[in-house]
Each structure stands twice: as structure tokens, then as C-alpha cells.
């Protein structure tokens, strides 16, 4: 195995260990700590939305006009009809395929 591929394997193992730590961490903490400070809790609560947004916003702005339009339509319809993530994916995909193969 070449060193670069070996690095990927190490990366996956590190990600697996990190994930396991989150899954066991709460159990360990709850038996140690009485209360989490409110500001820390607010910060922790914000982590997923804050991280995930950084993967969405640049794609929306720099992903190309077809991707921007597809994301916007998928967002609007999914929000309006309260659709699941899977349905939203299908809408985004259909829009981008229509633009790429029928319009452009």
C-alpha cells in the first residue's frame, strides 16, 4: 500500500475513534459532572448547524449557476412542504439534470 493511501486508512481510523468518543462521552460525563455551564451548552448546541452551514453556503455561492438554482428550488420546496431530506435530494437532482441536459 502506498503511503498516501495508508494515510487515508489512518484518517478513517481516527474518524472512527473520534465518533466513538462522542458516543461514549456523554455516558462518562453524566456520571462525572453535575451540570454543564449554560454558555458551553449553548456553544455545543450550535456546533452541528454552524459546521454544516460552512459546507452549504460556499457551494451555493461558488458552485455554479445550475447548482445555485437547484439548491434554491430544493430548499424552497422542502421548506414549504416540509419534505424529508431524501425528497429534497431528488428535487435538487432533477432540477440540476434538467438545466444541464435540456436547458444548457
Amino acid at each position: 500500500m502506498d503511503p498516501q493511501h495508508l494515510n487515508l486508512i489512518y484518517l478513517i481510523i481516527a474518524a472512527a475513534v473520534a465518533t466513538f468518543l462522542t458516543r461514549v462521552g456523554g455516558y462518562i460525563l453524566i456520571t462525572q459532572m453535575k451540570q454543564i455551564p449554560p454558555r458551553l451548552e449553548a456553544a455545543l448546541n450550535a456546533v452541528p448547524a454552524a459546521v454544516l452551514t460552512t459546507l452549504v453556503a460556499p457551494a451555493f455561492v461558488y458552485g455554479g449557476l445550475d447548482v445555485t438554482i437547484a439548491m434554491f428550488i430544493a430548499f424552497a420546496i422542502a421548506l414549504g412542504l416540509n419534505l424529508s431530506t431524501l425528497r429534497m435530494l431528488v428535487i435538487g437532482w432533477v432540477v440540476v439534470m434538467v438545466i444541464r441536459h435540456l436547458v444548457m
Binding site: H5, N7, L8, I9, L11, I12, A14, A15, A16, A18, T19, F20, L21, T22, R23, V24, G25, G26, Y27, L29, I30, T31, R39, L40, E41, A42, A43, L44, A46, V47, P48, A49, A50, V51, L52, T53, T54, L55, V56, A57, P58, A59, F60, V61, Y62, G63, V67, A70, M71, A78, S84, T85, L86, M88, L89, G92, W93, V96, M97, R100
Partner: protein, 238 residues
Amino acid sequence: MKKDEFWEGVRGGFPIMLAASPFGALFGALAVDNGFTIADAVFMSATVYAGASQMVGIELFGNHVQPWLVVLSVFAVNFRHVLYSASIAKYVRHFTFGQKFLAFFLLVDPQYAETEKRGERGLPITFSWYLGFGLVIYIPWIINTLVGAIFGQMIGDPKAIGLDVLLPVYFMGLVMGFRKRDRFLPIVAVSGLASVAGMHFVGSPWHVSIGALAGIVLAALLPPSNQAPAPTGIEKEA
């Protein structure tokens, strides 16, 4: 091991397995598209076993983000599990050490939700039930990754069949899943603007840490609200 309870768990987890299957296949296809081999993709599904964070991981890896930041992002996306394991602690205390180890490894969103629901109803949370529920989601997750990865390797140009739009839309769906949380809009607005600015002025992959940090710091600085934050599930698909 009690057979009845094991199969009761399997039946309970079955619909969730069906719902999660497309995401397993999608992960496999996108992982290959981002430079993974089929074996890498399967290995990641079998060891990390957390759909959203796996998608984040391959996206960042594909963008040649520094390894420590990839691991940190996976950790951040999975951080909600800390709340889960704290919350179900009271139900799994009677498990042996080895059973706890396995149980926490399998603690995906629906596993948490179902354990909590069952515990609240006063039904017994046995290891047999927990394992049945967990395995019927875990094993197909790996198989679906394999199928998706094989399919992904046959695709020449991912753009021609629209694969490139799926990850951003998927992440957008995940973000929307948090919209009931405290101060959702200001956090998303600040993180979004900061990440775009970071992309523009500093460049990828730093936009991820810049944007995330901006939203998290904002959440910590805003005056505390009375609304009790609930450990809401990020999404229901593994």
C-alpha cells in the same frame, strides 16, 4: 441473549434500515467520486458508522483539507451523540462492559430515539432488543455502501449525472433539521457569511473552521435564553 427480544428489535429497526439504505449507497458512490477505493468506503461505513459525518469526511478529504481538520469536523458533526449517550445512560446501566461498548458503537440517531421512547414507556431495554435493532441497521448500511461504491466506480463523469449537487443539498437538509433549535437563524447566517468570506479571502479548506467558529462563538456570546435546549436528532437516516 433472548431470541424474542432480539427479533422484536430487528422488526423495529427494519423500516429505519429501509429509509437509511439510499444514503448508504449514496455515501458509497460519492466516496469513490472523492478518491476513495471501494474498500476504503466500506471500511469507513463499518468503523465510523455515522452517515452525515461520513459525508462531511469524504467532502473534506476530496477537497484536500488537512487531516486533523477532517477528524475534528467528523467529531463536531457527531458531537450530538454526547447528548444521546448521556440521555440513555439510565437505561443501559445494567449492560456489561462489553455490551455497553457495543451499544455505544451502534448509537445512531434512530437507535437513540427508539431507546428513549421505549424507556419512557417503561418497556425493558434489554441488550438483546438493542442489538437486534442496531444490527438490522448496521449490516445493511455496510452492504449498501459496497453497492453504491461499485456503482460509483462505473460512472465516468459525475457531473453529467448530477452527482455533484447531491452533497450540498444533503447538507442543506441536515442544516434545516436543526431549525427548531435556539438561535438557529443567527448562527446559520453568521456561519454562512463567515464561510463564504473565508473561502473568498483565505481559501478552502479554512472556510470550514472560520465559518464554524464564527457561529459557535456567536452562540456562546448571545445572552442565555429560557428555552431548554433539547437533544433533538440531527436527521433520521443513520
